[in-house]
Symmetry: C2
Subunit: 157 residues, 2 copies
Amino acid sequence: MVNSRQSEIFQEVKNIFSAHLENHQLRKTPERFSILEEIYSRNDHFDAEELFEDLKKKQLNVSRATVYNTLELLHGCDLIKKHQFGKNLAQYEKSYGHKQHDHIICVDCKKVVEFCDPRIQQIQSMMGELLNFKITHHSLNLYGICGTCQIQRDKRV
Amino acid sequence: MVNSRQSEIFQEVKNIFSAHLENHQLRKTPERFSILEEIYSRNDHFDAEELFEDLKKKQLNVSRATVYNTLELLHGCDLIKKHQFGKNLAQYEKSYGHKQHDHIICVDCKKVVEFCDPRIQQIQSMMGELLNFKITHHSLNLYGICGTCQIQRDKRV
DNA sequence: TTGTGTGCAAAAGCTTTGCATGTTG
DNA sequence: CAACATGCAAAGCTTTTGCACACAA
């Protein structure tokens, strides 16, 4: 069940990416689709280097340059989201078939948890109107200490 | 009026920083206070390099290492806020005497506008409770196209 | 006086770029 | 077959680190 849903999603994103490449007169190279597949087989947040390493492990010979290039393309057609969770390092996640959400980050163990709150959409549209911005997206990160790390801290006292 | 308020604030942040250094048994060096003064004489968002350049222009011989070190210290005692507006570059702003706010960023011209909405505090405390995180701070950025850039875009069509 | 802070420069880490080669349309 | 994409390595940019000297406590 999960796998058939997974392959269904992969088919859809492949079509979207394919159409995007056609529309922009870009080439459909095997490297680009390998990267798309690798990203959609993951369920977590990852950075460019991790993606590069995983592709290498799978004997897919894709260079860093191509990884960065393709991440940019996928970001351009909204198939991935790009984040900066306080570090000087871009992290990504797939976004198709994954409902809009924001993040809570543990400043101790760096764990990332997702959450949804409809009020953010309201703030977004209200502020866009008020300040005359055409808002395209947002990023809300809450930073704090998760339950597990709170216990660790208490032990130390 | 503005200047007297400015110097009043500067006195206060100097005291806070001074106390923080004492409490942590760190030294009160002239460099650290030069940097604090420079930051509180600005009203915008800046990065480490801009701060370094401005100090150099004013003949204050402070090294990059000290700038980064001091930014870290000031961040530790909440006298500055640190942001990542989508770029791989940390940007800072003074935070004392400046009420809590979030940011709208124009993706075209990079202009940053501040706004406040009390609902964010509510989301923050609700989610902290729900997910058992002790939330310390948050970062909400809205991204879009500002009025001016919308006009530029329309002209181009 | 002692050890922390500083300046300087080198190194590190992420990302981009240049160039020769390969491959898509 | 022409233009674009790729791989590789070098360069670019921000930030961190190592070391000798300076100076706050």
